[in-house]
């Protein structure tokens, strides 16, 4: 019974994904963007929510995955799944390489170094004009059918289903990882690195593994974005992307996977609606939203129901 209950959120999520597919047939491009962003924010939830590693440079892995998938499609093969693997591998390699340095640092130093990694990669992509198209962006990505069966169609039905399937694969993999010894150790390191070190846990190495897995998932998200939009621009490395993704995570609630999903959904929908009404003051609204959540709901919107319950329960 308990086993079954733990699948309620997933069932709801599947129902939501299917329902959205039929309810908004003309907004599939936007819905696909939301799904890709969910995968990206899940990668941050893994390292930040679970492992307690605060960075502002996750876009480094997202962008690398996007460029890797784009280059792979142009020069090697237009098979989407192989391209996804290429993006994932590229994200993992960048995370591992930068992680060797980053995971030794903490606090402001870690934040600054993670921002620097993304900035340096952006600059490299900007300079390697022959490969990446520089500031004009990388064009000419043409994807083949998925598994040789399903072609990407004009209104984006295939793309949406493809991304939703990848989202669920990532989500279930992360649920498994969270319950694994590595996941439990990561939680311990989040709570107190010193104590984990005292009981013999290899803190640095575990943080590095976690960061690398997070990088692989961010690489998947970037690869999906490149394949769906068939364009990669320098924006994939932008600081704003990293910062907004962290904001979305905190909005929903860090460390619980579903918080990432909820946060992205709310942020992107509010953004979509507010930006169509008034593109400038949207930024004010998001700033206010962040402040309110940080001040009044530090555990994110997922903690709103229990908080209300306590409030009502306490009044009795």
């Amino acid at each position: 019974m308990k086993m079954l209950r733990s699948f309620i959120p997933d069932t709801l999520l599947i129902a939501l994904a299917v329902g959205a597919f039929f309810a908004f047939p003309y907004d599939l491009a936007f819905l696909t963007r939301i799904v890709i962003m969910m995968i990206f924010v899940l990668s941050i939830d893994l390292i930040l929510g679970l492992g307690g590693i605060v960075t502002l440079g996750q876009a480094a892995m997202y962008g690398t995955g996007a460029y890797a998938a784009g280059l792979f499609a142009v020069h090697v093969s237009n098979d989407p799944l192989l391209g996804l693997l290429a993006g994932m591998a590229a994200g993992a390699v960048i995370a591992l390489m930068s992680g060797l340095l980053l995971m030794r640092a903490g606090g402001l130093t870690l934040i600054m170094l993670s921002i620097a990694v993304a900035q340096v990669l952006a600059e490299i992509a900007n300079r390697a004009r022959d490969w990446t198209g520089g500031a004009d962006g990388m064009r000419g990505i043409r994807m083949g059918p998925i598994l040789g069966q399903w072609r990407f169609d004009f209104i984006g039905q295939t793309g949406y289903i493809y991304c939703v399937v990848v989202l669920f694969v990532v989500l279930f993999a992360l649920k498994g990882l969270k319950a694994s010894p590595l996941g439990l150790m990561a939680r311990g390191i989040h709570e107190s690195p010193a104590r984990m070190r005292a009981i013999g846990a290899p803190v640095y190495q575990r943080r590095l593994i976690l960061y690398t897995i997070g990088g692989a998932i961010a690489g998947i998200a970037g690869a999906l974005a490149a394949q769906i939009t068939q364009l990669v621009s320098l924006e994939v490395f932008s600081f704003t992307l990293s910062a907004e993704a962290v904001i979305m995570l905190i909005l929903g609630g860090a460390g619980r996977l579903y918080g990432a999903i909820l946060g992205v959904l709310i942020f992107m929908v509010v953004h979509h609606l507010a930006a169509s009404v008034d593109p400038i003051n949207w930024l004010f609204l998001i700033g206010l939203m962040v402040l309110l959540v940080v001040f009044f709901l530090p555990k994110g919107l997922l903690s709103l129901p229990p908080a209300l319950q306590r409030l009502i329960g306490g009044a009795r």
Binding site: L56, A105, G107, L108, L113, A116, Q119, V290, P298
Partner: protein, 287 residues
């Protein structure tokens, strides 16, 4: 030789601007242990106020003074209302809350003045060049360097020679002990924050030719200011000074000599420095 001199003059002027804007950030970070990503917002507020005043016919110098004062008056209620609560939060919450504040400042400036460049017309006296015989120096650069040196002198006297400075240093070293000795740390925080915001505004106005004022200023240059603080070491004024001048000169030099790789050189240098000294050049040993 001429190139070398140009690099030095431009680099030092640029470094002085970075120092003026970052020093408040460094001190507030060292003092309150808050990672403030909205600090560039005060430079923007100062620059925007100066733009509004000077384009409406106020004298440049008077406009600058009023803008700095105005920024400090805006900073005070923000410190008391928002930041005083942010100090107690965790690292991640601080980062997010201050990004939120930066967004709100950007949106407000964007709403009132638009998203175009906000130039601050420089007065006649700053436009020409100083003729040294073998080469000329733009007055503006000279003024920036002199202002930077004056600010450094002022801060040195304030921190080393006044009662406020003694209390400030005590609070930076150990806040709880300072509080038990009867130092009103809350007031020190507020005054320091105001001072930092005022200096950021001054740097923003004087540096408008190098770092143009526009609504997205706080985000565009946020990383730059934070790098100075991280490299210099949080809470260290001397560290900020050394880091700002060093990074300013390095950045200018790489722009002159290897413009292709400017950004990469800048960030790689920062990464190497932070790897060797995670607490910054002159950091206090705890982040």
């Amino acid at each position: 030789m001429t190139t070398l001199l140009s690099i030095l003059v431009d680099g030092i002027a640029y470094g002085m601007i970075l120092f003026m804007i970052s020093v408040g950030l460094s001190v507030t970070m060292g003092l309150m242990r808050v990672i403030n990503l909205a600090h560039g917002g005060f430079a923007l507020i100062g620059g925007a106020l100066a733009h509004a005043l000077v384009t409406h016919g106020v004298n440049y110098w008077a406009g600058m003074g009023l803008a700095v004062l105005g920024t400090m008056l805006i900073a005070l209620p923000m410190e008391r209302g928002l930041y005083a609560r942010i100090y107690r939060m965790g690292e991640l919450q601080q980062v997010l809350a201050t990004i939120g504040i930066a967004f709100m400042i950007i949106a407000t400036v964007n709403y009132t003045l638009g998203s175009t460049l906000l130039p601050i017309p420089t007065p006649e006296g700053l436009r020409g060049s100083l003729d040294l015989g073998f080469r000329t120096l733009p007055y503006h650069r000279v003024a920036v360097i002199v202002a930077g040196l004056l600010v450094t002198l002022f801060l040195y006297l304030l921190i080393e020679r006044t009662r406020f400075g003694i209390r400030l240093r005590a609070a930076v070293d150990h806040r709880a002990t300072a509080a038990t000795l009867g130092i009103n740390t809350g007031r020190i925080f507020a005054l320091t924050f105001m001072l930092g915001a005022g200096l950021a505004a001054l740097g923003g106005i004087l540096g408008a030719e190098l770092l143009p004022i526009e609504a997205y200023y706080p985000l565009r240059y946020m990383v730059l200011f934070l790098v100075v603080v991280a490299v210099g070491g949080m809470g260290s004024i001397t560290g900020s000074f050394v880091a700002a001048l060093g990074l300013g000169t390095l950045d200018t030099a790489s722009r002159y000599l290897a413009p292709e790789y400017g950004t990469i050189v800048f960030f790689v240098t920062m990464a190497v420095l932070l790897t060797l000294r995670p607490q910054g050049l002159l950091g206090k040993g705890r982040a």
